[in-house]
């Protein structure tokens, strides 16, 4: 790819995720686009973040893109690598500000499913990975951002299995269940950025990506999306400088930000 080519959808995705990261924060990331976004944020607007990984790596020296969350690039010369129990304990004790995770399904209250598709646990249409650290981060972390593709199946009214509690049944139900933090604060898809209406905790459009309309976003959703007051803002797009940084310093080999060919 030539360096001055327009940003591709994955690069735009990585940029939008990166804008959720504030400087001077501790950021818990998985592999793939969230990690690209974290490194991009550190190389642009948030140079003072500390990145934390589920295998326990903390604050690694920047290297290539890891093949696994346990791979050496997630703990490259880390001053400390935490045991798993302590790594989640770090979230509980207030030493993680924001975390990013994917999902197979997310519902109108931001509950996440990575377990199964179908209504019968013993005979599902599809059995997925299970929780991994998804439940732990979503239960404990101060702010959660969910990242994934948006279709009516992936955005159902109710998830088929609650792997991780978002806002549970809305209102105060997350807090009443005993969980910590603000729960999901944003959902990022190919359509737009969504937040949750403060009282009902139902998913609401926050901004739409260029070319998207509310109707398109709604048609990609299995429940009724809430609309914000007034005109829906457009999601800010990356500047050529940011795309240049992404291509030269963050993911120069395009491991996670080049579109699949053939």
């Amino acid at each position: 790819m030539k360096n001055d080519a327009p940003a591709n959808p994955l690069e735009i995705f990585a940029y939008i995720i990166s804008t959720q990261i504030k400087d001077h924060t501790i950021v818990y990331v998985g592999t793939g686009l969230p990690m690209v976004a974290g490194i991009l944020a550190r190389n642009t607007h948030a140079p003072n973040i500390t990145m934390v990984y589920e295998s326990g790596g903390q604050d690694p020296i920047q290297g290539g893109m890891p093949w696994s969350v346990g791979g050496p690039f997630t703990w490259r010369k880390s001053p400390i690598i935490q045991e798993m129990a302590y790594s989640f304990g770090q979230c509980y004790n207030g030493y993680v500000d924001i975390a990013f995770l994917g999902f197979a399904q997310v519902d109108m209250y931001g509950n996440v499913n990575t377990h199964m598709i179908g209504s019968d646990f013993h005979n599902p249409k599809a059995r997925l990975t299970g929780s991994g650290g998804n439940n732990d981060l979503t239960s404990l972390t101060e702010n959660m951002v969910l990242v994934g593709l948006q279709t009516p199946d992936k955005f159902p009214e109710r998830v088929d299995f609650i792997t991780s509690v978002g806002h549970l049944r809305g209102g105060n139900s997350r807090k009443e269940a005993g969980l910590l933090g603000n729960g999901p604060v944003a959902v990022i898809s190919q359509c737009g950025v969504f937040d949750f209406e403060p009282v009902s905790k139902r998913m609401r459009v926050k901004s739409l990506h260029p070319g998207m309309t509310f109707e398109i976003a709604q048609s990609c959703t299995g429940f009724e999306l809430l609309k914000p007051e007034g005109e829906i803002p457009m999601t800010p797009m990356p500047s050529p400088e940011i795309i240049h940084t992404l291509r030269t310093k963050v993911d120069p080999r395009g491991v996670f930000t080049s579109l699949p060919t053939a």
């Binding site: 592999t31 793939g32 589920e54 295998s55 326990g56 790596g57 020296i61 290297g63 290539g64 893109m65 093949w67 696994s68 969350v69 346990g70 791979g71 050496p72 690039f73 703990w75 490259r76 010369k77 690598i81 045991e83 798993m84 129990a85 989640f88 509980y92 377990h115 646990f121 013993h122 005979n123 599902p124 599809a126 059995r127 997925l128 990975t129 299970g130 929780s131 991994g132 650290g133 998804n134 439940n135 732990d136 239960s139 404990l140 299995f161 609650i162 792997t163 991780s164 509690v165 549970l168 139900s173 997350r174 009443e176 269940a177 005993g178 969980l179 910590l180 080999r253 491991v255």
Partner: protein, 363 residues
Amino acid sequence: MADFDFNKEALGNLKLEDTGILERLIDFEEARKVHLAKERAKKDKRMSLKEAVAEFVQDGDVVLDTGFGYVRTCIQSHFEIMRQGKKNLQMIGAPNTNQSYMINVGCVRYSHNSYTGAEMRGTDRNYIRQFKKGKVTILSEWSHGGVAQGLKAAQLGSPGVLSKQMLGSDIVKYNPYIKVIQNPMRADPDPVAFIPALYPDIVFIHAQAADKFGNAYIYGPTVNDLAGAAASKKVVITAEEIVPEMDMRYNKKGNIIPFFYADAVVELPFGALPGSMPGYYYWPRQWWEKLMRFAGPSDENMKQFIDEWIFGTKDPIEFVEKLGGAKWIIEARRQTKAAEGDNEDIDFTYQEYRVDNDSGIFY
């Protein structure tokens, strides 16, 4: 023996009628008894992997998977367990990626499920198929942190921990070991999940180095292995290298597992293959892609893959030969050292395995 009171809703949801099968994982009295009976003297515990598996793995054991899926995981020990035809094992771990292909040969029959998959490499279609055919029964659902806390509780010397994880989720409805209770120290409503201390029957831990008594050091992600070594009834240490005890005292790097946990010590270079080993070798990445993309989709392909790579090799040395021998070792060592920042940066791009383009190369 203790009289247990499991989470009844979960027993119903999981359709588990005989709770006897659940008891051994949390049987503290039995674990303490086994621990008390272990060899106390510093004895040379070295033996071959074949001997260790034959002597210590019994059909029906709860096996704890170690490392992180395919990072410093004792996969060659799993392969030997499969070769020796052990049956009806229960598998627990965070993650427990490697239970999947062990189900196909009847080795693993029960799952304490936390995460089964290979991250970016794709969904584990084999596990789904075996589950739907009833070849594996899920005994409990966990988050990674829940397993980590259960093992840590054992290491702490506590009957269990109160956790803020898994609350409100369907995981607690499918885990007989977890109960949601009111925090006894709070007057206002404060639900917490009680997670009991977990005592697996056996653990294999692959370390960078061990001495002949079983002191072992591991560096890179330790994950749950320090707790797992303290908790498990039987502990087999496998290691890339056997070093003098003095090395443990003066040259230690990373975390130490003390000798008195160990029942056996196995010198096992390349014991984490086809996983990666910090300081020693990077993954044969295409191997995992072939497992997920070629072997995963059908039982026939999986059988062919298992016959070739697991039953078709007798030890890690033959496995390395199949991967490419010395040429593979040189490349894998260069890759891990570069990734860890101990070598000049190299280009990590490679050709991913594709079913329609099997290069037969496994870097």
